[in-house]
Subunit: 162 residues, 4 copies
C-alpha cells in the first residue's frame, strides 16, 4: 500500500469528532488510538459483557471495531463535506479472540472516486505474568484473530456529513 494524501487538512479532528458521535463505540468501550491518512487503529479491552458462549469476544464485537476502524480510515481521506456509507464487509475469523484486549487496524487499499476499499485486521493480545521470589515479568503474546475486507461509497449532496 502506498502512502495516502489527505484531502481535508483537518482529517484527524474530523475523524475524532465523528468517532465521539458513534455511541456504540462507547458502549463497547473502544478507544481511538491512531489516526493517520488512510490508517486508523481502535483498541478494545475484552470484557465479560462482550463475550459469546465460550467466553471469547463475540464475533460481532470484533466485527464492530474492525468496521469502525475501516470506516474512519476511509473517512480520513475524504474531502471535507463528504459522507461515508458502508456498503459491505466480509470478515474471516482466524482464531478465537482470547486475551485482554484487541487492536483493530483499518487500512485503505484503494480510495476511488465513488468506492473506497479497506483492509482490516484484528489482533488479540494476552498478557501473562510470571512471578519468581523477587521479580515479576510480563510477556505479551499477540495473535491475528480476524481479517476484514470492507467497501464504502462516497456520498455528497444528500444532506449527510461525517
Amino acid at each position: 500500500m502506498t502512502p495516502h494524501e489527505p484531502r481535508d487538512p483537518d482529517f484527524a479532528a474530523r475523524v475524532r469528532a465523528s468517532f465521539e458521535r458513534q455511541l456504540f463505540m462507547a458502549t463497547l468501550g473502544a478507544r481511538l488510538v491512531r489516526v493517520e491518512p488512510g490508517e486508523v487503529d481502535l483498541e478494545l479491552p475484552v470484557r465479560t459483557e462482550l463475550t459469546q458462549q465460550h467466553g471469547f469476544l463475540h464475533a460481532g464485537a470484533l466485527a464492530s471495531v474492525a468496521d469502525s476502524a475501516c470506516g474512519y480510515a476511509a473517512l480520513s481521506l475524504m474531502p471535507a463535506g463528504a459522507a461515508v456509507l458502508s456498503v459491505e464487509f466480509k470478515i474471516n475469523l482466524l482464531a478465537p479472540a482470547a486475551g485482554d484486549r484487541v487492536l483493530a487496524k483499518g487500512r485503505v487499499i484503494r480510495a476511488g472516486k465513488t468506492v473506497t476499499v479497506c483492509w482490516g485486521e484484528v489482533v488479540a493480545f494476552s498478557e501473562t505474568t510470571e512471578t519468581t521470589e523477587t521479580t515479576g515479568t510480563t510477556a505479551t503474546t499477540e495473535r491475528l484473530a480476524a481479517t476484514m475486507v470492507w467497501a464504502m461509497m462516497t456520498v455528497e449532496g444528500r444532506g449527510l456529513a461525517d
Copy 2:
C-alpha cells in the same frame, strides 16, 4: 430452501441455553424470538447506545445480531455434543437501519458434514402513529436493511460444546 431435520431432539432448549450464555446479546438487548430447525430469529430494539454517527443502528450491532441468528440456525441442526465455530461472514448494507427495532433472521442454506452455510436478513421496522381528533392508528413500515452470507465449521472432540 428445503425443511431441515434436527439431529438433536432438544435443539430448541440447547439453542436457548447457549444464547443465554452469549453475554454480548444481553449487552445489546437482543431477544430470541423464534427457534425452529434451521431457522432462528432475534429481535433487537434500537437504542441510542447502539448508534453510529448519524443516529442509525451501527453496522456492527446489526452484524452482531445477524451473526448470532445464523449461528443458532446452524446450531439447531447440529448433533448433540458438537460445537459451532464461525469461520466467516459477509454483510451487505442495503439501507440505514432506521426505526424502532430490527429483526435478524438466520436460515440454513446447506448443512454439510463439516461446513454449514446460512443466509441472514435484517429487517428494520418503524412505527408511525397518526392521530385524528378521536382515534390513533399505528402503521408499521418494514425495510430490508442488510443481508448476510455466513459459514461455520462443525467441531467435535476439541473440548468445546455449545
Copy 3:
C-alpha cells in the same frame, strides 16, 4: 423478493445484445436461457476444457457464469444508457459441480439508485440413463453447487453503456 419493474422497455434485447459482446461467454460455451426483469439464467454445458484437477468444473468457470447472470439481472432493471460496473462478489462453493451442465441464476435483491445487489445460484444437473431390455429411462438429479452475493454500481455519463 418482490417483482421488479423494468425502466427500459427494451431491456431483453439490450441484455441479449450485451451478452453477445461478452466474448468470454462464447469461449466458455454459455447460453442465455432466460431474461425477465431482475432475473437472468445462463446455461453452461460442462466440458473437459473447463475442468480443474479433479475433473470437476473449475470454480472460476462457475463464478464466471454466476457473475454474468447477476450482471445481466442487474442490467435488466437499468434505465437506457446506464452502464453496469461490477464492484465485488462472493461465492460459496457448496458441492463439486459434477454432471453434464450447470444453470446459473441471477436475481436482483435490491436495485438502488447507485448500488444494486444480486443473489446468484449455480445448480448442477446430472443425467443418468437406466436401460432395460426394451426401454431406457433418463433420470436427472440436481444439486446446488454454489451461491453468490454480487454488487455493482450504476455508472452514467462516463462514456460507457451496456
Copy 4:
C-alpha cells in the same frame, strides 16, 4: 505475513503437476510463473476471447486466475496426500483489467489445521511504446485490478489428492 515452512519437500513439483491437470487454465492461457512456500503467481495474457462487453478482461477470467493462484499457494503448504477444496472466495474489482497481461498473486495469510485463508491480488500491466526518429522506448504501467480473500478446507481420507 510471516515466511511459511512447507510440509511436503516436493511442494513445487506437486503444485506444477496439479496445475497441468487444471485444463481450464490452459483454456484461459494462464501460466504458472512463481511457486514458493505459501506464494504462487500466475500470468494471464489478455486476449479478445476472454473479454466482457466493454473489451476488458471478464471479471470471471480474472477471478479464475486469482482462485487458482490462491489454491496453489494453499496447496504448497499442505502435507503430501492432502487435498484442497475451495470453500469460498470474495473478489473486489478495483479497476478495469485493461492492458496486455495480468499477474495473479496468491499468498497464504493463515494455514490452519482445517481452514487455510489466502489473500489474492490481480495486477494489470500495460505496455506503451513511444517511438522517436531513431529509437523506441517501452514503458510499462501497472494497476491493481482486483483483490481476493479466499478460504479452503483441508481434506484427508476422502479419496481425493492434489
